[in-house]
């Protein structure tokens, strides 16, 4: 199967895809975009969170064929060249990164949250990020990171 879609603003064509592959597999194994992570592959952990036509999705639950002609934005498409996105900067400053496996998915999910709701309450932050599992941080510094972006 051949697939053509926009990934991080760039028109991309990928050949020889097996129809059973997910968007996550295509991004990671066929396009050199391994930033979206494979922690559960059933939509429970949020580690593969990406934008599909501007909507936050788990890339593991999207069949590759579904993205034909559509627009995908991954963690690699945040930030501006060498400059980190303010959310990425806040994660570093707040100590919200330990092993980092959940981090790309969380950064995308926070990006989505703040795009929809620039000044969320703590309860709104927690509700919005409830689909992103982290096993290292206990989430305390993730909430702190989001708050610090809101404050700036």
């Amino acid at each position: 199967m051949r697939l053509t879609f926009t990934a991080n603003g760039e028109q991309r064509r990928v050949d020889d895809i097996w129809e059973g592959e997910s968007l996550l597999y295509v991004l990671r194994e066929r396009m050199g975009l391994p930033g979206s992570k494979n922690a559960c592959e059933q939509g429970e952990c949020g580690s593969c969170s990406v934008y599909l036509d501007g909507v936050l999705v788990c890339a593991c639950l999207v069949a590759a064929g579904q993205v034909e002609g559509r627009d995908v934005r991954t963690v690699e498409g945040l930030g501006d060249g060498a400059e980190l996105d303010p959310i990425q900067e806040a994660f570093l400053e707040a100590g919200a990164v330990q092993c980092g496996f959940c981090t790309p998915g969380l950064v995308v999910a926070v990006h989505d949250l703040l795009g929809r709701r620039p000044d969320p309450s703590d309860a709104e932050i927690r509700e919005a990020l409830a689909g992103n599992l982290c096993r290292c941080t206990g989430y305390e510094n993730i909430v702190k990171a989001v708050r610090s972006v809101v404050a700036t």
Partner: protein, 736 residues
């Protein structure tokens, strides 16, 4: 000297330096083991036993081999070297030796062009089993005539007794209790994975996420029939560990497939396979009897602890030692009798998980302390303060605690923190039990408060030759006015905890060099020991400090005295002070260092539905020296969360030896909605025996948060709650 240098460069010991790998991680550019890729690589897959105990009567790989795109299908007959591996004792077959001893034991491995082809080919392997009765009850395993035998030498892997004082001591007040701890999973997010690349010398290069490169290497080399130097390991990015990567998983399998096919082979476990692919925390059955005077002072503790090690040994013996030696908790007890068994069953193998034996015992002894308080009409904190150990106290092993043990201070600190505000008249449902399920607006909700305090040993114990190796190099660059740069080379695994940050901080403090590079972690330098037992800051931190001191000894005027273009390099193998084996009465100076944390938990319980919302967790911990205060707090947050998981939701459900919930849909770990805000209070009481006075940080908060939360639920409900995790049925009394 170090304190003078601390003022010369920023980013030294004690400061909040950012992680050196942080920028890559937030960009998604950090290469985890599952991200690796090589031209022309194959994908590996594993076929596992469907039965917890069965003899294989027929194994036909033909249909798998005939699958288009398949390069290799290997079984036990293809293992080139030793057929078994293991951390303490090589008893675990690389591939099933004819008898499967647990559900999920690897039987055969496949390499193919595509992961799906590999998985499908594995499913086409024909295996016929003669199903045998499994041994699944650990209580049966300690019986003298226990059958079936999981291994020929009997079903008891270790029975450790500790006897101190009068075995027949009596007391005015006696409380007895039986407790049970379910099987917890480490549930790291980054699955077991790695890339094996065959090398021209007949050896193999393995890029893998692990906790202990050299012990991996030695086991892999033995099983491949290669010399250790022909197996070279490089640490790939590690997506969390928590003990689950101390044992081998896919290491030998990927190397076998790579050597067999002559091509690089990548293996990545799915989440389901991950639940079968690593050891778990030992489930435990604990029976305790506490005797005390009317004044609340403990007279004796008797305990019997059975830890289910499952089908293979892994680190069960060491887990037994921890549960037994730390089994009465951080309290002064004159008369102690502990029997602790680690047993073989046909349940999933268990081994290392954060807290390592201390977690199971702490749930029981802290539950007992609360019952004792109730019996005596004392406040739960007061009964702990009356019995709290301190520096100079004697452990049940006879070991004198010879550095700070501020158990009373930690308890007072969490007790005296301001309480969280009571729920208002119109609370946000998101802050109530049941959350957005909208199951209550406050009716039936009762608040409870509970406390827990725990003790953990740091570093390896019982006479183990525990060391770490560090190579530090300082160079004055030939250009740009002779700028100094340093590099650190160790084999100590960074698994997310922040060791790489701290090693650079140590070099800055010791040598006054601002620019420090942490080189890739591999087996080209001596062993760093395991990233476990809260030991790496102590051990590899100690080794890096010692290497810096060796450099300073050669350059008494400082590294600035180097000529432009010149370099100096020192490699040091560093050991902590020796420990002793335990004698037949469980006596001996078995541990290097003790660490302590205390928690206060505040919960809201919907007593009608049995739902719990943890409102706040407060933790006080002594860390000796906060090498990086932000990283210390991060360890306390994360360790506390794993303790919350064990208290409320995390259990691998094993029925007749079969794992019933191998997914993140059915095995629940705390989400951001489950974790409350935390208050953290860090003490820095230096241990004079340790580098910078530091004390291991990672494990203590996992130990004390669980009993604190359960105590808070008991406080709210009046229920006994002898088993964790506590489910809604336990709170409503409707468990059938």
């Amino acid at each position: 000297m170090s304190s003078r240098l601390e003022t010369l460069v920023t980013g030294g010991v004690g400061t909040n330096v950012r992680r050196p790998d942080g920028t890559l991680k937030v960009r998604g550019e950090f290469a985890f083991s599952s991200d690796l890729w090589s031209d022309d690589m194959l994908w590996g897959a594993t076929l596992r036993s469907r039965h917890p105990h069965a003899r294989i009567t027929r194994l036909d790989i033909g249909p798998a081999l005939a699958t288009s795109g398949v390069w290799a299908v290997l079984t036990k007959d293809d293992v080139p070297g030793r057929l078994h591996y293991g951390l303490e004792h090589a008893d675990q077959p690389v591939l099933c030796d004819g008898t499967a001893r647990y559900h999920g034991e690897p039987v055969a491995i496949v390499a193919a062009d595509h992961p799906e082809i590999a998985r499908r080919a594995a499913s086409r392997i024909v295996v016929e089993y003669d199903v045998l009765a499994p041994l699944t009850d650990p209580r049966q395993a300690i019986e003298p005539d226990s059958t079936p035998l999981v291994h020929p030498d009997g079903n008891v892997a270790r029975h450790l007794t500790i006897r101190r004082g009068d075995p027949d001591a009596h007391a005015d007040v006696v409380v007895t209790g039986e407790y049970e701890v379910g099987m917890q999973d480490q549930a790291f997010l980054g699955p077991e994975s790695g890339l094996a690349v065959p090398a021209e010398d007949g050896g193999v290069d393995l890029y893998v996420a692990t906790q202990w490169l050299h012990v991996d290497r030695d086991q892999v080399a033995a099983c491949l029939g290669l010399a250790p130097e022909q197996v070279r390991l490089t640490l790939a990015g590690v997506g969390g560990a928590f003990g689950a990567r101390e044992d081998l998983s896919m290491q030998v399998h990927a190397c076998m497939l790579a050597l067999h096919t002559g091509k690089p082979v990548k293996m990545v476990y799915s989440r389901e396979e991950s639940f079968f692919g690593h050891v778990h925390r030992h489930p435990a059955l604990l029976r305790y009897e506490h005797g005390a005077g009317r004044d609340g002072r403990l007279g004796y503790v008797k305990a019997e602890i059975i830890l289910d090690g499952g089908a293979y040994l892994s680190s069960t013996r060491a887990v037994v030692a921890n549960a037994a030696t730390l089994g009465v908790g951080p309290y002064e007890v004159p008369n102690v009798s502990v029997d602790c068994w680690g047993v073989y069953t046909n349940n999933p193998p268990c081994g290392a998980m954060r807290g390592f034996g201390a977690v199971q015992a702490a749930f029981a002894y802290e539950s007992q302390m609360d019952r004792l308080a109730g019996e005596l009409g004392l406040d739960p904190v007061d009964v702990r303060l009356i019995n709290a150990m301190a520096e100079g106290s004697v452990m049940p092993t006879g070991q004198v605690v010879d550095s700070a043990a501020p158990v009373a201070e930690l308890l007072k600190r969490v007790r005296d923190m301001p309480p969280p505000p009571a729920a208002g008249p119109t609370p946000d449902v998101r802050e109530l039990p049941g959350g957005v399920s909208n199951t209550t607006h406050g009716e039936g909700v009762v608040r409870g408060v509970g406390y827990g305090v725990g003790i953990k040993n740091v570093c390896f114990s019982e006479g183990f030759d525990d060391f770490s190796t560090a190579r530090v190099r300082v160079e004055k660059l030939p250009e740009s006015g002779g700028r100094l740069v340093a590099s650190v080379h160790t084999a100590a695994a960074e698994v997310g905890q922040g060791l790489v940050t701290i090693l650079a901080q140590i070099v800055r403090t010791e040598l006054g060099v601002d620019q420090v590079t942490i080189l890739p972690t591999d087996t080209h330098v001596g062993s760093g020991g395991s990233t476990s037992a809260s030991r790496q800051s102590y051990m590899t931190g100690g080794a890096v400090k010692a290497a810096c001191e060796a450099i300073r000894a050669k350059l008494p005027n400082g590294v600035d005295a180097l000529d432009e273009g010149a370099a100096i390099e020192e490699t040091v193998e560093w050991r902590h002070r020796p420990t002793q084996a335990l004698d037949e009465r469980g006596q001996g100076d078995a541990h290097v260092q003790y660490a302590f944390a205390a928690h206060r938990a505040v919960v809201d319980v919907d007593v009608e539905l049995g739902l719990v919302k943890v409102v706040e967790l407060a933790c006080a911990q002594d860390v000796g020296k906060a090498m990086n205060p932000d990283a210390v707090a991060g360890q306390i947050h994360g360790g506390t969360a794993q303790g919350l998981g064990l208290a409320l939701m995390e259990e691998i459900q094993v029925v007749d030896g079969m794992i019933r919930n191998p997914s993140f849909t059915d095995y629940l770990i705390p989400t951001i909605l489950d974790m409350p805000p935390m208050r953290v209070d860090v003490l820095e009481l230096a241990d004079p025996h340790a580098p910078y006075g530091l004390r291991g940080v990672g494990e203590p908060p996992t130990i004390s948060s669980t009993p604190a939360i359960v105590a808070a639920i008991r406080n709210a409900t009046g229920r006994r709650l002898p088993r964790i995790p506590v489910g809604p049925e336990d709170i409503t009394g409707t468990r059938t």
